[in-house]
């Protein structure tokens, strides 16, 4: 069997349903096998989008996403997408073509040192120099990508290795002597954590993306409901605990709710689950939760005590550890604590000025209402992302997909396509900004040709809104290059690509536009919401300030 045939056989064995990518010179042998159409292939218009589609597919389904590109520029175009997945621990396998092994290092046509370039942004990568190693490499790649703390794995595949012949044997067993992720939490640590929970008077659960990655949302819910401990979520944790649950505090951090941030700051115990105390979450680290003991549950030992000193680390898979904790914990009487939180909630609700103007928060609320909170929402990065996080209620895991760590503008639209491919029966909305959407706008073609009916809700403020907001607040309103000068007519753009376009400039038009978009089952729909350009995201913790020193927001 040829190397290229081995790749396809191995992908079938890994139950891969779809591959996203673009071909080129050195992946021709592989594409000659894909021509048989044993695997679904979606041809994108830019490799970056292929990586984001594989990422969106992985986040929405929990399976490993797969993308393919050619050598050189194909591979370098994947880089942003791979880095995005790496920062958010998303399981991806990226396959890149490489020039023939005798030419490597000779500055051959379309040659780049792909393993060198992607080394710091992959969990692991391979340059396969011998066709004999190919089947084992693919097996390992899928295992590494999806086990432990997940992440992207890249396989660089020279063209002569694709053509090379060998006997196909797919190894059942994987032997990587250096890689044994800890899955079961240490019983003594779980015991200690239980004791600390029992003593706490003002505890908070701080849940991150790890809850979703380990499929632990029902365990998290049980833990919270048994103990009565309120739950706040990170951006990537949204949906890991139902947003409408009475114990939910919503999101914490820079644009979190005031009550979540106040609760964390005044807590005497933080139970961090699959979260990493990112700077956007903690605010000024020196003043973060001064009276709190910290229990940190994480599968990655290097995440423990990285930013915040941890009292009781429990290394292992969140789902296993929560199962154990649930067996041990007892209901806590936290009446005073809940009273305090209730007062914060009524005093500082998450709200906005709901007047006659077309405001982005209203648009997001309407999308939430009309999709009954059951859509998959992807976001771009910036204000659109924060409004989508604040004003949509995520009640289920894997329904909010956003580039949290890397903050990649241009992520949301291709991720929405990937999510829709993985979940054809769901309604998928990309809540976008006009700036971000233009970064991967070419994928309208991909969505049209493949009948992928994603909805793109552009919160169009004709500027790079989040940066503009920082210029307004912290740079004396000197709006340096954040005005996008009006941008294109998105309705015409949509039509030119063969998609549907709807323009909305009045509040009364919002609901019918969303309904019309939801009725479309075949084509992508772009809704251009021409919102108030000067609307800001509030409340906000200014960079470098303590988490409870929030500005803005209506009280």
């Amino acid at each position: 069997m040829s190397g290229a045939e081995i790749v396809v056989e191995a992908l079938k064995r890994e139950k891969v349903e779809v591959i996203f990518g673009i071909l080129g010179g050195v992946v021709l042998p592989l594409f000659d096998v894909l021509y048989k159409k044993e695997l679904r292939f979606i041809l994108t218009r830019h490799e970056q989008a292929a990586a984001h589609m594989a990422d969106g597919y992985a986040r929405a389904t929990g399976k490993v996403g797969v993308c393919v590109a050619t050598s050189g520029p194909g591979a370098t175009n994947l880089v942003t997408g791979i880095a995005t997945a790496y920062m958010d621990s998303i399981p991806l396998v990226a396959i890149t073509g490489q020039v023939a092994t005798p030419l490597i290092g000779n500055d051959a046509f379309q040659e780049a040192d792909t393993t060198g370039i992607t080394r710091p942004i992959t969990k692991y990568n391979y340059l396969v120099k011998d066709v004999e190693d190919l089947a084992r490499t693919i097996r390992e790649a899928f295992y590494l990508a999806s086990s432990g703390r997940p992440g992207p794995v890249l396989i660089d595949l020279p063209v002569d290795v694709q053509k090379g012949e060998t006997k196909y044997h797919y190894p059942e067993e994987i032997k990587i002597r250096t890689y044994k992720p800890t899955l079961i939490g240490h019983p003594l640590q779980i015991e200690k954590a239980t004791a600390l929970i029992k003593k706490s008077k003002q505890p908070v659960i701080y849940a991150g993306g790890g809850v979703i990655l380990s499929n632990a949302s029902s365990q998290l819910r049980k833990l919270a409901e048994i103990t009565n401990i309120p739950v706040t979520m990170t951006l990537l944790g949204l949906g890991g605990f139902p947003g409408e649950h009475p114990l939910s505090l919503g999101m914490l951090g820079m644009h979190g709710t005031r009550y979540a941030n106040y609760a964390v700051m005044e807590s005497d115990l933080i139970i961090a689950i699959g979260a990493r105390f990112d700077d956007r979450v903690t605010g000024k680290i020196e003043t973060f939760a001064p009276n709190a003991k910290v229990i940190h549950i994480d599968i990655d030992p290097s995440a423990i005590s990285k930013n915040v000193r941890v009292d009781i680390p429990i290394v292992g898979d969140a789902k296993n550890i929560l199962e154990e904790l649930i067996k041990k914990v007892k209901p806590l009487s936290l009446e005073d604590w809940h009273q305090k939180i209730k007062e914060w909630k009524s005093k500082y609700p998450l709200t906005y000025q709901d007047d006659h103007k077309l405001r982005p928060q209203y648009v997001v609320e309407q999308i939430c209402r009309l999709t009954k909170g059951e859509a998959i929402i992807t976001t771009e990065v910036g204000q659109n992302q924060m409004w989508a996080a604040q004003f949509y209620r995520y009640n289920r895991a894997r329904t909010f997909l956003s580039s949290g760590g890397l903050g990649t503008m241009g992520y949301g639209f291709p991720a929405a396509i990937g999510a829709q491919v993985g979940c054809p029966d769901k309604v998928v909305f990309d809540i976008a900004g006009d700036g971000s959407f233009q970064m991967n706008i070419q994928e309208l073609t991909t969505a049209v040709i493949n009948h992928i009916p994603v909805k793109i809700a552009i919160l169009n403020n004709r500027c790079l809104g989040m940066v503009r907001q920082w210029q307004e607040l912290f740079y004396g309103k000197r709006y340096s290059y954040t005005d996008l000068g009006g941008g294109p007519d998105f309705v015409k753009v949509a039509n030119a690509f063969g998609a549907k376009g709807i323009g909305v400039s009045k509040k009364s038009e919002v609901k019918p536009a969303i309904e019309k978009a939801m009725d479309e089952k075949k084509l992508p729909v772009v809704i251009d919401f021409r919102i108030e350009p000067e609307e800001n995201v509030f409340p906000m913790v200014p960079a470098g300030a303590s988490l409870n020193q929030m500005i803005g927001g209506l009280a």
Binding site: T115, G116, R119, P120, K123, Y124, L127, L144, I176, R177, T178, Y179, D300, P301, S302, I304, K306
Partner: protein, 161 residues
């Protein structure tokens, strides 16, 4: 924060790309590796590295955790905090103007002259960093023309340092 010299011993898979992965963890944080030695062990599939590095304690702790996380890393030991033996081999080329005094110093240190020329001699010395510093200090007045060092290697022992 306090900066301290660390000797980190890393046991790794003996395959291409591993050195780059490890070096990357240091360079990405702007840490310079002061010394590095790598060679195959008694098991040809395994290599042993000894890395000498100076830096902020907290960041080094983080680097050590991340070294452990690398797929190719079998074992990481920070030898700094434990009883360990440490050796380095250096070759020093010194101006041969005062051979008698040079020979005396070489004998005191139990080292050897391995090349004798018209203008210079080459001395070989094996020792820990203290011993090497001392000898270099004594040789400096003669005029050191060149120094080659292997970088430190370290091992944990049961006996004394």
């Amino acid at each position: 924060m306090e900066e301290k010299q660390h000797i980190i011993s890393v046991t790794v898979e003996n395959r291409f790309g591993v050195l780059a992965r490890i070096a990357g963890l240091f360079s990405a944080r702007g840490f310079n590796i002061d010394s590095l030695s790598v060679a195959e062990t008694e098991d040809p599939t395994v290599s042993q590295m000894t890395i000498g590095v100076r830096g902020n304690e907290r960041i080094l702790e983080q680097i050590i955790k991340q070294l452990n996380k690398l797929i190719d890393v079998i074992k990481v030991q920070d030898l700094t905090s434990s009883d360990h033996l440490e050796r380095e081999l250096i070759l020093v080329k010194v101006n041969a103007t005062n051979r008698a005094n040079i020979t005396k110093i070489v004998e005191t240190f139990g080292s050897q002259v391995i090349d004798v020329g018209q203008k210079s001699v080459v001395i070989e010395l094996v020792g820990d960093s203290h011993r090497i510093q001392m000898m270099l200090k004594l040789l400096r007045p003669f005029g050191i023309k060149e120094i080659i060092r292997t970088g430190k290697v370290g091992i944990r022992g049961e006996g004394e340092k």
